[in-house]
Symmetry: C4
Subunit: 234 residues, 4 copies
């Protein structure tokens, strides 16, 4: 049941580790089957080397475990809150990748300093508010999802496929689990490059709206012409 | 037809990925056969792992696809503009390699801080002007080539084999596709080292003309004595 | 005799090298068998590639070599002093890993800037006092242990499983040799991320007590719910 | 003839490349046989992958090629000048390793910020004067050796086994070719760590004389007790 989803989520988790975006068990990827509402997610605290599709935890739309002896990632309530609110998202990835975490810990959004960023994120990578004592002390992981959702008021999560949780690290997403890992890898490189940019020129501002539009829209949307698609093909 | 050129361009693209100068499909190398004017370039959005010589796109001197089903890199008009204007260039490479991109995003040229730089770049690595809304909104990739060409007024592109496009990243080149990758690798290391240099000493100025001449000219030109060449041999 | 301990200590030393936390012979891991008081430690100046369990040095509770021709690490008196004072510690690791060493050399504690840190270290990573001429000139390695112990007055070494020795580098520990390496790897990543954080935002302060409690206690102690443990299970 | 020396020098050059201290042909290691005065050195501009002992160039004490068709490294006159003046040196290594080059380009000596440094370099890593136009324009490589030698007035090159040539990069050395590579690797790590240290604490001063003495002398000289040597054994 949901074998394909489990395999895709397992592969995406292992890729995180292969790309050295995580050490130990510091990250988790999930995917959702929108037709049934079933979510597949990494089990908590299990090493990537030991991960196989049968260890991936399946959850029903209410977050209950469908089968298997393993507990899901402790960040599961964050993932579920994002799936409930970001209807076009099919996969979510959370890491503590070093460069994105530097910005998250500094509680600073990443300005769009260049076309690498603009190719994937249609504007700055936002940072959430700092969570309050109340938000932390009860339903912490659910509230983490809520502060992300609140930060995205007025933003399209498919145009800005990731966020920095203040004092914590990145969550990123996409149309499926593999795309969520891709958004994470891009964010990590964008974060590293932006840090160098402000070191060289602390006064550097973001690129122009025209350049942001050009790069984002040549890869995304109905007039995209990057890659092997025909115009209009997504 | 043009099998050697296709193989050389394919190998150069794969080397970019092996040297970890690119992730995903973030870069492209081309080469030109000056006798026929035919340009070979990476197809758009194709993964390096999947690249084979038969997938390399061949273009006639007017930029039309000669054969094959794949679309060329979306940056093709930039490459063609450079080939039209830089007559001694035989290969061009574009990446978003992190350290060079930091400087490009900071809109700062890289001063010649040392002999590593002077061995390959005869002066600072220039940065283009920031492109205007008009340059971006129509013929963007062609205009990217034009701002590079304009920046090289008074410069010999074989003496300064690369540039930083402001808000974007590096283009570098050489006598063929492999040399273009070499210019890119050097630029990446020079950019990293220069960032460290200004962190240690923000007031550091460039090396003397005498040292720049010494290092550049011991490797290049008619009196070169580096390597296994005889003096006068290029 | 003590074959398991020797193998565990050998494996932990080799892991240090595989994870690139050490070059040459710049690090050492030890483990203790609390029932007998026997300590196993890396021999001094031996390359990791050449390390086998039979080369691990066994010491009795007074620090005398039990058997074998090799001398123990020159840092042995530091390890022994820590075992004498930190009764719940079962393994200790010393390295000159670059990022932790940067902070140690800067004589600065690492503030708890984020949840990655809070998951493993329940507060800032402390730095010792600078050692005096007298402490250095006689019984240097023993006195290194003493300044660490003094710095931990009022701290639980199992809650803060590592320290920066000023002008020197990190010592980290855990319930056994493998856990000591884990504490070292975490410290190295925490140090790297913290450096980026203060570069982006020099005014950044530590996370709230509530967030520190939440993350540390969801992984440690009687109400932990991270991983595959049941609540109350350690 | 001199087969062992040739093999040792070849191995040391290849190690430079394996340790990623060089790319392309950006570095060279030499060794000397003090009984005959014969120097073995890397050929100029030859790739490390292609290096074999028979390609290593042998030079007589006057710097003339003894046999073989290849030209020696263009930096040979620097090596020879150092061998003439530093009588206890048996191997020399030159690279453009990134972190050491950052300091060389910044024209700053590396203060002794910690015990990692003190274990190998008995004081700051010195930087040469900036070379004059006259020194550059004739006998440049020989003059590079001369500014190094001048900088070492009052210093023992076996206690400070390396230097930063201003605007250029490091030269390091030791009792043989392998030791010269070791001095280079240490210098690269020391340079990286020192850069982090001044970023965290720009006011950080060097360690005390007592700590410098302790660490340097526990590894070097007649009272050394690090490693598997007996006291008095070198």
């Amino acid at each position: 049941m949901h074998d394909e989803l489990r395999k895709a989520v397992c592969d995406a988790n292992i890729q995180l580790w292969r790309e050295r975006l995580v050490i130990f068990s510091w990250g988790n990827v999930s995917g959702i089957d929108r037709s049934s509402g079933v979510v597949a997610i990494k089990p908590s605290g299990v090493a990537y080397e030991a991960l196989t599709p049968d260890k991936i935890v399946l959850l029903d739309p209410d977050g209950n475990i469908i089968e298997g002896p393993l507990k899901p990632s402790s960040d599961t309530p964050t993932h579920l809150e994002l799936y409930r609110n970001f209807k076009s998202v099919g996969g979510i990835c959370h890491t503590h990748s070093p460069n994105a975490t530097m910005w998250a810990q500094a509680c600073r959004e990443i300005p769009c300093f260049g076309t690498t960023h603009a190719d994937y994120y249609y504007g700055p990578v936002p940072v959430t508010e700092v969570m309050t004592k109340e938000q932390i002390e009860s339903d912490y992981e659910l509230n983490t999802g809520r502060v992300i959702v609140r930060r995205f008021a007025g933003l399209d999560p498919m145009e800005v496929p990731g966020v920095l949780v203040a004092n914590h690290g990145p969550f990123a997403w996409g149309r499926d689990a593999a795309a969520a890992v891709e958004s994470t890898m891009v964010l990590e490189q964008v974060a590293a490059t932006a840090l160098g940019t402000i070191t060289i020129n602390p006064e550097q501002g973001p690129i122009s709206e025209a350049l942001l539009d050009k790069h984002y829209l040549r890869k995304h949307g109905k007039n995209a012409y990057y890659g092997q698609r025909s115009p209009g093909e997504q």
